[in-house]
């Protein structure tokens, strides 16, 4: 008979906090599902009844004839993404520098810029685009502004976080040599942060291509406009064409962009 080891066992850690977190977690999810009317069983039923038919209508077969006509709007989409990322990046860099609290020590400036960045990131590009369509009419211009604002917020945030995590020693070196803020920026911050900044811009471009593909739905240019038209006309096979062509474009751009980004960092 093995006697129980009673003496000197350390106190068993209290697991109630962990379990209560899990319960709260589960409650949140379940109540959300109830609120949204998310009933898995009926969903499955509906999927099997209607889903396959719809997918068949879209993809089997897509309207191959429409392919050629789909290319120009697709190019417009890509152009919007390029310009949006570019403009966003240009404004993002100075903003990131101002927001970095290890470079500019003016607290209220840091905070203001950061708040501004957060605001630009809360509104999805689509919302911004539809507002701008109201001002500028339909076309790619409002779309580009929306994408620029979104990219600005995204790139800025990632860049200032980068700046705040650089090796401070190089800043010390520039300070000890008698450099001013511009010198420190040029010689210690820029070399360390530039590759990451370019990487973030490319990432924003990838996101923008996806976003631009649907901005047209509210009239902001690009291939998205076609979605609206074809859905209204119930031409699902054309919808399929657009989906496929956007898909291929995003795939190609993503692959190229990711491989460039990997080389940078």
């Amino acid at each position: 008979m093995i006697s129980k080891f009673e003496h000197n066992l350390p106190k068993k850690p209290n697991k109630t906090k962990f379990y209560s977190n899990v319960i709260i977690f589960a409650l949140i999810i379940i109540s959300s599902a109830w609120f949204a009317g998310f009933n898995i069983i009926t969903l499955f039923q509906n999927f099997f009844r209607f889903g396959f038919r719809l997918i068949g209508q879209i993809f089997f077969p897509p309207d191959w004839g429409y392919f050629d006509n789909a290319i120009p709007p697709l190019l417009e989409t890509i152009q919007m993404a390029i310009v949006g990322s570019f403009i966003g990046a240009i404004f993002a860099f100075p903003a990131a520098v101002l927001a970095a609290n290890n470079f500019i020590h003016i607290k209220w400036l840091n905070k203001t810029v950061r708040v501004l960045l957060n605001i630009t990131r809360t509104l999805p590009a689509l919302v911004l685009a539809s507002i701008f369509v109201g001002l500028f009419g339909s076309g790619s211009f409002p779309g580009v502004i929306a994408l620029s604002i979104f990219s600005f917020g995204l790139i800025s945030k990632m860049t200032y976080e980068s700046i705040e995590s650089i090796d401070f020693g190089q800043v010390e070196a520039l300070m000890s040599v008698g450099g001013n803020k511009w010198n420190i920026l040029r010689y210690s911050i820029l070399p360390q942060v530039l590759p990451q900044f370019i990487s973030y811009t490319l990432y924003a471009f990838e996101v923008n291509v996806r976003a631009a593909a649907v901005l047209g739905y509210v009239g902001a240019g690009g291939i998205g406009q076609k979605y609206k038209i074809f859905l209204q006309l119930r031409r699902f096979d054309n919808v399929g064409t657009i989906i496929i062509i956007s898909f291929v474009a995003v795939l190609i751009i993503d692959t190229i962009s990711s491989s460039i980004r990997r080389r940078l960092v």
Binding site: M175, S176, N180, W182, P191
Partner: protein, 307 residues
């Protein structure tokens, strides 16, 4: 003609009751007072965390002082350039380099670096070179560009942003690189260099600054023994040949005894030991250092024999 300051009257650098308490309450330095003559090679010894790095950084005010003054003698308040303990020597050097140099325009005063800011502070800093334990060289740039960053305070900002340094500055850079024997790497990317080579580039940068004082924060702590001696030899070389005052934190006692002229011991933020090395036999100094470190001096405190 500027008045000749009596030799030995005032020292080049004077710490007066310097104290530093960090915002989070840590007391780094307490009431440090010490004078340093031009041309000295001062080794600061002490345990990690004793305040050595803080002390070094107060000198060029990368870290400010909570209390106290740091006075520099014979600083021309028009340009904030330092003329050292004996200005006539420096004036002669200048005249040799530039015949138009007019010494009557000089206004030499004692300047407290804790009181100046902005452009003037940067000008004073340009006279003080600093090298670091992890070199702080910009790896993506060439060796030449790294040394040229020593010239940023001598050039307008637009030039330094574009990296367009004048030919005269490049000549200064070449000379500096030659002094530390690394001219053949001038156009190499700094990341291609070994640790010892990077430190030499850092020294060259300080030379290009025309620094009168070299601050060295554990300059050889990251290097292997052979490279350690190489780098220390170069530091000693510029101390002896160019008259650059060296103030260096060092980890290893034998390096201090071999290269420095003076040892200063710091313990818990206070100055507890100060001796000219030639005034006392090494063995006794090592015994004294036990009190500085609060423990016996052991094998780890020595680099060892040169191979």
């Amino acid at each position: 003609m500027v008045a000749i300051i009596l030799r030995g009257a005032k020292k080049m650098i004077k710490f007066q009751n310097v104290s530093k308490t960090y915002p989070n309450g840590t007391i780094a330095l307490t009431d440090i007072s010490v004078e340093i003559k031009e041309g000295e090679f001062v080794a600061i010894l002490g345990l990690s965390g004793a305040g050595k790095s803080t002390l070094l950084r107060t000198l060029n005010q990368i870290i400010d002082c909570t209390e106290g003054n740091i006075l520099f003698n014979n600083v021309d308040i028009n340009t904030y350039e330092m003329y050292g303990d004996d200005p006539s020597k420096e004036i002669e050097k200048r005249k040799a380099a530039d015949p138009d140099f007019d010494s009557s325009l000089l206004n030499l005063q004692e300047v407290d670096i804790t009181t100046i800011k902005g452009k003037d502070l940067r000008k004073m800093r340009s006279n003080i070179g600093m090298i670091f334990q992890n070199f702080n060289i910009i790896k993506r740039m060439s060796v030449l560009q790294n040394v040229l960053t020593g010239r940023v305070s001598y050039n307008p900002t637009w030039r330094t942003i574009l990296g367009l340094f004048p030919e005269a500055d490049k000549q200064i850079a070449y000379k500096a690189l030659d002094k530390v024997d690394i001219l053949e790497k001038t156009y190499h990317r700094a990341s291609d260099l070994s640790g010892g080579q990077m430190q030499r580039v850092a020294i060259a940068r300080s030379l290009a600054q025309n620094a009168k004082i070299l601050l060295a924060d554990e300059p050889v702590a990251s290097l292997d023994p052979i490279t350690t001696f190489e780098v220390m030899e170069f530091i000693k070389k510029i101390n002896v040949e160019d008259g650059i005052t060296v103030i260096s934190n060092l980890h290893h006692v034998d390096l201090a005894l071999r290269y420095a002229t003076r040892i200063v011991g710091v313990r818990d933020g206070k100055l507890v030991y100060d001796i000219q090395i030639k005034d006392r036999p090494n063995k006794l100094i090592i015994d004294d250092l036990e009190k500085v470190y609060g423990r016996p001096i052991g094998q780890d405190d020595f680099v060892g024999d040169e191979e």
